[in-house]
Symmetry: C3
Subunit: 141 residues, 3 copies
Amino acid sequence: MWLQKTIVLKSRSRGFHLVTEELLAQIPEIRRIQVGLAHFFIQHTSASLTLNENADPSVRRDLETHLRQLVPDGAAHYVHRLEGPDDMPAHIKASLLGAAVSIPIGGGGLQLGTWQGIYLGEHRDHGGPRSVVATLNGETF
Amino acid sequence: MWLQKTIVLKSRSRGFHLVTEELLAQIPEIRRIQVGLAHFFIQHTSASLTLNENADPSVRRDLETHLRQLVPDGAAHYVHRLEGPDDMPAHIKASLLGAAVSIPIGGGGLQLGTWQGIYLGEHRDHGGPRSVVATLNGETF
Amino acid sequence: MWLQKTIVLKSRSRGFHLVTEELLAQIPEIRRIQVGLAHFFIQHTSASLTLNENADPSVRRDLETHLRQLVPDGAAHYVHRLEGPDDMPAHIKASLLGAAVSIPIGGGGLQLGTWQGIYLGEHRDHGGPRSVVATLNGETF
């Protein structure tokens, strides 16, 4: 079976946010899939999806701090500056982290490891709501 | 339906290049797919595929400039030097950016966001033509 | 056809390791697939899967050296420190490199380029065995 749905994630502050439950709540049909894959795709170039630790919030904070250091706001060499000092670094982070995560489905649920969760990386100061296309494919029970 | 095709991207200069149209021109069969996924996979370890802004060319230029700073040519700590100062950084960038992009198909086309395009990252000074395996999978109309 | 199997990769030292053969040995069923996709997913947040050069071991060494420089152990700004100086950088590398690789299947085998292999990125000093979920999907001969 195939299922495709666009999920709008509510507006969030800059940084990394755990969105596993918010995404799963929109795709209850996953329970029908015995084996398959779930693909989550963010339709933006200044935000990202990535997998990381689902427990201690300090991991999300440190990830943001470190990325701000690797890709600073308003670096002198940016030519693309029209939309503000947070725009070009947001594009760079989007490519370093990626627009999509693809996760195995088994037994009607995501086969995440114990400590894995889905992060939304919001790389703009005021990014607004973000659209994620969820595509599920697999064999039903 | 499944479709797989190897697409040869013409030789390009070092940097990031928008290749969405060049890839789509080779897979007209996508129009038959109502819901599915398109997977583009570059068969090289010194080039990459990533998604980013499809409008202002300065985004592509700044992405290249910033990556050259994060992963400099001929860094003193590289042991792998035989193929020139641009070779080892090309391998590192290939892993940071990734060899594949996977994009939802809906209604016979790629479900990219308004500002998203597919970039070829050419990380060698003289990389030559690059092979991309396109694999489409989905339900037909 | 769909096939899903959890593969346990044996414990390895910190750094990058070529695991293509170890993974393929566990999925002989791939020979039955004419066209499809193979998805390998690591169920951890301090290790990664990536594609890179399968020949010269110095590429794996330089990749590790350079990532240790981009994401140093025990950086002053890390708040998440409880599990040791190698823990937070391991999480950051996991997101930069990614938890999954998706590779086209054609003619009963992985359609990797001549020089491509699958790397396990072990980012902890003592990471232990690592679980990888392999999901194959495609049309059989």
